[in-house]
């Protein structure tokens, strides 16, 4: 099976680097081809990296709480850039404060994200979801 390619990074003015470094390792260990853009990544940088690498998915991290502002319009930008159906995940501490996660998830779905993950999600969970969504085990 061909290696799947994913783009990861931390969006906006967010500098939380630890989770990103660990995700890079976990996904690499799990057999993905990982393009890691590190921290403070713009929507545009995510999208160009995905196009350049012909990626199967973009995994956006947002830890610092301003993710909602930073992620608005990302799906539309993907459409404009010609990758309308690319798999879009978001995870971390993606809103300000302790909120009911179902509502948070809904907000991100409405923004066009395929999945949103609650704080502290174990990389294994992300990997399982990728396997499912990218039909890797079929």
């Amino acid at each position: 099976m061909k290696k799947k390619t994913i783009v990861i990074g931390v969006i906006g003015n967010d500098v939380h680097a630890v989770g990103n470094k660990i995700m890079y390792r976990a996904f690499t260990d799990a057999g993905f081809n990982v393009i890691n853009l590190g921290v403070t990544v713009t929507q545009e940088e995510f999208i160009s990296a995905a196009i350049e690498s012909n990626a199967d998915a973009i995994l956006v991290s947002s830890l610092y709480g301003q993710g909602e502002l930073d992620c608005r319009g990302m799906r539309e930008k993907c459409e404009e850039a010609g990758i309308p159906n690319i798999l879009l995940y978001v995870g971390g501490n993606i809103v300000i404060g302790k909120q009911d996660f179902e509502k948070v998830e809904q907000r991100y779905h409405d923004m066009g994200f395929d999945r949103a993950f609650p704080p502290g999600t174990d990389p294994q969970v992300d990997i399982d979801c990728l396997h499912k969504d990218l039909k890797m085990d079929e």
């Binding site: 003015n13 500098v15 680097a17 390792r25 921290v39 709480g65 301003q66 300000i96 302790k98 704080p119």
Partner: protein
């Protein structure tokens, strides 16, 4: 850019100042004479530095939360709530992340959206956008001195505005607000902008107004060995003193092993005073701050209270001058004011119960010796690399990895060294990278790591680091192989 550790001349400062004040329209609100006059109305317990010095004298530990919301009225409500129900001794105003990277336009938008949607969409208080007068309104709404807490590589305008507004303490520094807080900004650049902040502070000082300055101790908050954060703290204290700063609080983030944590606070005070003295700054007042655990927290609030309490205990036992408090919401998101005050009350209870107690472990001396040795090694190497200039030395030190911060996002950081816990949970060096340690220090760390490896029956390896990063969030200190939650 040529960076040198020397006091900015009045002319240099004036020229730069014009540019700075022009970067956002609220810069116009700053008038130095008016600012001095305003600051002079704030005396005694309304001044951050004075309150710290009084506490230091009594060997008391003051408590301070982190807190900031975008909308002014909400922020005032938050501060008043923390005064009343958090029993805090010192107040913060945590700045949002757009302001931190000088995106005042984005901050303006976020502020607008937050008002519109009736909920905070930014993670802090955009003081620059609010400007001098609105911030003065904040200062006048509370009875507790306020500090700006942020993570801003270029914090010049923010300082101008908040100083003029009556804030009496300012966190940050050219190294500690670069390496953990940005990706591509050169260290020379941030050291330079922070020389400006320190010069501004010095100017206030020369006009009889003492503003407390606090280098950010915990750095990335993740397995930072004391010697590394101590080295940064000492250099930033020296750089600040050069510009005329007279009241400095050096900081450290709880690592988790009590002996190491107490030793860290004690040596931080000693080393900073020693170096300031050594370089001729005899009239700088030094105090210390311990940050409750800065890494990944357990999601469960009851467990979080346990972590908070142990941090508070280390602050209380080491008689740190203040402690920065975490909340039981830490793992999930910015705390509600209620959760924030809970963290404060829990901390205060522990601090109070330990006020009368001292920590006199037999291992304390060994730990202190090792920390001091390692810190001095890094400092000496930087000084040498900088040909006797601390600013240049810091840049070259970071570049070569002589001063190396683990997990830092910044490209300037070498990222060659790797930390991990030893078998007693103290943070040691798994791989020294280019840290300029002598053989004794290297052997000590190596031995400690091997002890753990033997106990865990696995090699000294990066897996330990990953396990350690997750450990406290999963209910323990040392990341043992195969660990489950709690």
């Amino acid at each position: 850019m040529e960076i040198r550790n020397r006091k900015l001349s009045d002319a240099e400062f004036e020229a730069e100042r014009k540019e700075v004040l022009a970067t956002w329209h609220t810069g116009k609100e700053v008038d130095l004479d008016d600012a001095f006059a305003y600051q002079k109305t704030l005396t005694g317990d309304l001044r951050f530095g004075d309150k710290l010095l009084a506490a230091k004298k009594e060997r008391r530990t003051l408590i301070q939360p982190r807190a900031g919301v975008p909308v002014l009225d909400e922020h005032i409500k938050l501060m008043q709530y923390l005064e009343k129900y958090g029993h805090v001794d010192l107040l913060p105003s945590t700045i949002d992340s757009y302001t931190r990277l000088n995106s005042y336009d984005k901050a303006e938008e976020g502020l607008k959206q937050s008002i519109l949607e009736g909920r905070a969409l930014m993670n802090g208080f955009p003081a620059v956008n609010h400007g001098v007068y609105k911030c003065r309104h904040l200062v006048e709404s509370v009875k507790t001195p306020l500090q700006v807490r942020h993570g801003t590589p270029d914090a010049r305008l923010l300082a101008e505005i908040t100083y003029a507004a009556g804030f009496t303490s300012y966190e940050g520094g050219g190294i500690s607000y670069n390496l953990p807080y940005c990706k591509k900004i050169p260290l020379e650049h941030t050291i330079k902008t922070w020389q400006y902040v320190d010069r501004l502070t010095g100017l206030y000082e020369e006009n009889g107004i003492s503003i407390n300055r606090e280098p950010f101790g915990p750095l990335t908050g993740t397995l930072v060995p004391p010697a590394i954060s101590h080295a940064v703290a000492v250099i930033e204290a020296l750089l600040a003193a050069e510009q005329g700063v007279k009241n400095i609080t050096v900081g450290y983030g709880q690592c988790g092993n009590i002996t190491q944590d107490v030793a860290a606070i004690l040596t931080l005070q000693e080393l900073t005073e020693d170096y300031l003295d050594m370089f001729g700054f005899h009239d700088v007042e030094v105090t210390t701050v311990l940050h409750e655990w800065m890494g990944g927290f357990p999601e469960d609030e009851a467990q979080a209270f346990g972590v908070i309490s142990l941090g508070a205990a280390c602050a209380g036992l080491s008689k740190a001058t203040k402690v920065i408090v975490k909340s039981p919401h830490e793992a999930v998101g910015i705390p509600t004011m209620e959760a924030n005050a809970q963290g404060c009350r829990c901390t205060k209870q522990v601090i109070n119960m330990l006020y009368e107690q001292e920590y006199s472990s037999k291992d304390l001396e060994v730990e202190k010796y090792m920390i001091k040795n390692a810190t001095r090694a890094i400092l000496e190497k930087c000084y040498e690399l900088g040909d006797g200039d601390w600013a240049l030395g810091a840049c070259r030190g970071v570049e070569t990895g002589a001063l190396d911060v683990p997990f830092a996002p910044c490209a300037a950081n070498a990222g060659l060294m790797l930390p991990a816990r030893d078998n007693e949970g103290a943070v040691r060096i798994l791989d020294p990278g280019n840290l300029p340690f002598d053989q004794e220090t290297k052997d000590f760390h190596r031995r400690k790591m091997e002890e753990r490896a033997r106990y865990e029956n696995r090699p000294v390896h990066f897996n330990m680091v990953v396990d350690d990063i997750y450990a406290i969030g999963r209910g323990r200190l040392v990341g043992r192989p195969g660990m489950r939650d709690i």
